[in-house]
């Protein structure tokens, strides 16, 4: 799996302007700019992939949030990166998780779809060992 993110972001600001940001670049999350963002969009870099295009309308007084989560199987050798975006307001984060097969999961900090995927990857590795491959 590539060590570059699958997404870039587009921020629509309160004045209507659009800004594209590289999520891997230090400084993309300028606090003032995020506070003025009313629509946050994640655009897949590869339009032929199954990564979903994601757009969230940011509630008044909230700011957009974004992170990725890397899961690694020691011995099994899998490396799986997924993404989450949403908004933060009044001390509470509202996440939607995005997966490489187009699935999404909302309203959690610990997505169960990710657990299903890592189980499947571990099972595939065990089967490979059992088959002597």
């Amino acid at each position: 799996m590539s060590d570059t993110f699958e997404y870039i972001a587009e921020l629509q600001l309160n004045d209507g302007s659009l800004v594209q940001v590289n999520l891997e670049e230090r400084g993309w999350a300028e606090p003032e700019r995020l506070a003025n963002t009313r629509v946050f969009t994640l655009l897949p870099k590869n339009i032929d992939s199954k990564w979903p295009l994601f757009r969230v309308n940011i509630p008044e007084g909230a700011k957009p949030i974004f992170k990725s989560r890397m899961s690694v199987g020691m011995h099994a050798g899998y490396r799986l990166r997924v993404y989450a975006a949403g908004w933060f307001k009044d001390g509470e984060s509202h996440w939607t998780w995005l997966f490489p097969n187009g699935a999404m999961e909302t309203s959690t900090d610990d997505p169960t779809i990710l657990d299903l995927m890592t189980h499947a990857l571990n099972d595939a590795w065990r089967q490979k060992i059992a088959d002597g491959r």
Binding site: R26, S68, R69, M74, N122, I129
Partner: protein, 169 residues
Amino acid sequence: MAASLSLRVYTGTNAATESAAVTGIDFISADNATNSLANRQANPVSVGTNSFSKHLRLKIDTAPANSVSNFKFWTDGTGQANVGLRAKLAQGTGGATPGTGGTTPSATALTGDVDAYTLTSGAKGTWDSASYSTLNHVTKELQLQLQPTASAAAGNWTQETFNYSYDET
């Protein structure tokens, strides 16, 4: 570029000697970072004794844009009969490599540890709750130890699936 982290094994006095990046670990009757069949054959763990504890940290090989955090560890929740696997998370202090507060690996049973098989995808263990942003910085330690009882069957221990995750912003 996104952050890149690798798993390192820490050996020697105070677990201060950092290995190269590893993709697997051996539970053996010696303190080394080698992961190979030959190593396991040369350093078997006798039933009724413990393996040397394995001291692990994640190291930042490519720095993130902001930080990496929320380090979790879990197993598949099932093991071999009469072969315990113990874990001690969030040990020592992270920071500049090789970190601080590590303890010397030994075959003495860990104390203050938990059954690693209770750390599952539904109840992940917290390896480290701190956040890091600097190249070559490392997390706190995760210590693991195999404890086969006197009733354990001799032979290869079934290869286990260990998983870890972290968040990046």
